[in-house]
């Protein structure tokens, strides 16, 4: 079980119709690769975020598969074109079955 998993997201509050906006996300997670051993020589089980999805008003913006080589606290920066006001939904899927979700509103003028 991963401890202290907290998402951080930055989305502009406002944008012009059709504007390309920049989105930044980060989630605190240890991203244990499953390759390391503990002090007694036993393998530390893999525990990573394995998928990240961003939706806008139900439409997929980005859908990412994460692999064990991705380092601690995975950070994504990407752009999206916003045609209308609405809600971005961000979802992270953990190996342990946990799902972390957060949303951000944006107003398009």
């Amino acid at each position: 079980m991963a401890d202290n998993v907290t998402p951080r997201i930055r989305v502009p509050r406002e944008a012009a119709a059709g504007e390309v906006i920049e989105i930044k996300t980060l989630i605190s997670h240890q991203m244990e690769s499953g390759q390391r051993r503990d002090g007694d020589g036993n393998i530390i089980p893999r525990s990573i975020i394995n998928r990240f999805v961003c939706d806008f008003n139900g439409e997929t913006v980005i859908d990412v598969t994460l692999e064990p080589a991705i380092s601690t606290n995975p950070y994504f920066e990407f752009t999206a074109t916003v045609p209308e006001s609405g809600t971005f939904t961000f979802t992270w899927y953990d190996d342990d079955g946990s799902v972390y979700t957060d949303t951000k509103e944006i107003t398009v003028s």
Binding site: T6, R8, K24, S71, N73
Partner: protein, 286 residues
């Protein structure tokens, strides 16, 4: 043809040496979130008259553009994950007295503004110089009736980071006279003492050779205005004493313990060498 090629290679090698030599202070300024102006170079404080250093430089100056940028926006600065944890801890009631930090100190933004800038400082009641970490643990054990944090572990660095943020941009201003003078002198003594099989003092690297390479990295002036600092290689926050211990270990010496009187004295002395730079913590370093 071959000769020409060799010459080109030689010219390229020379070119890269020249760029290394220039990779010291390019005069760039640090502004965080587009609003907090950080003083990364300042005139050396008066007590450094004999050191040959006339301008003190934040460690930020010595880092690559990529690392520098991580500190220019709090969203990109991974240390802010710890600051968030620190806020949570600030408001959490712990210990036998039923208190949180907020019970006595209220709003962290108000009560802790300027605090980081003057630590380590003399504590009259205890009759000793106290670091910020020492004061946090004193609060926890004596005011809250809670367990002390491990001196250099993540609970402590998160709280230190939270408190440091409230003083960002303010000049470091630790007192070195009066009752703190003895500890300061002890710290100075330690700074110039050669340790370990390599027989290196702090000054050998950070006073005489800052800007030069140590293995693949530039030596800084060893300023601690940016602590606690997020080190990319640790993927976590590093405490001042943790850094001291790492440095002394690298000289192949037995080190002092974190939180020991020796390191407290050294922290006071090293902090005083940064009087005039801005509080920058939590900073980002490679």
């Amino acid at each position: 043809m071959r000769k020409v090629l060799q010459r080109t290679v030689a010219a390229m090698a020379l070119g890269s040496i020249a760029s290394i030599a220039m990779a010291q202070d390019d005069g760039a300024d640090l502004v965080i979130n587009g609003e907090i102006e950080i003083t990364v170079r300042a005139p050396a404080p008066a007590h450094m008259g004999d050191t040959g250093i006339d301008t003190i430089l934040s460690g930020w100056v010595f880092r690559s553009d990529e690392t520098r940028q991580l500190e220019m926006d709090d969203f990109d600065n991974p240390a802010f994950l710890a600051v968030d944890q620190g806020i949570e801890a600030w408001n959490t009631v712990e210990g036998t007295e039923g208190k949180s930090c907020a019970t006595c100190h209220g709003d962290v933004e108000e009560s802790m503004a300027g605090v980081r800038a003057v630590y380590p400082r003399w504590n009259e009641e205890a009759g000793e110089v106290r670091t910020l970490a020492g004061q946090i643990n004193d609060c926890r054990t004596n005011q809250m009736g809670a367990d002390a944090y491990a001196y250099d572990k993540s609970d402590m660095t998160a709280m230190e980071a939270l408190i440091s943020v409230q003083s960002r941009g303010m000049p470091v201003n630790v007192a070195i006279d009066g009752p703190a003078a003895d500890a300061w002198a002890q710290g100075q003594e330690l700074y110039y003492t050669r340790f370990g099989q390599l027989e290196l003092s702090c000054a050998n690297c950070h006073e005489e050779n800052y800007g030069n390479y140590i293995r693949a990295d530039h030596l800084s002036q060893g300023q601690i205005n940016g602590f606690p600092t997020y080190r990319l290689k640790n993927a976590g926050l590093v405490q001042t004493h943790n850094r001291f211990r790492g440095c002394i270990r690298d000289t192949r010496a037995e080190t002092f313990a974190v939180g020991s009187p020796e390191f407290v004295a050294l922290e006071l002395y090293v902090a005083s060498r940064g009087n005039g730079l801005s509080v920058e913590g939590p900073s980002v370093r490679p």
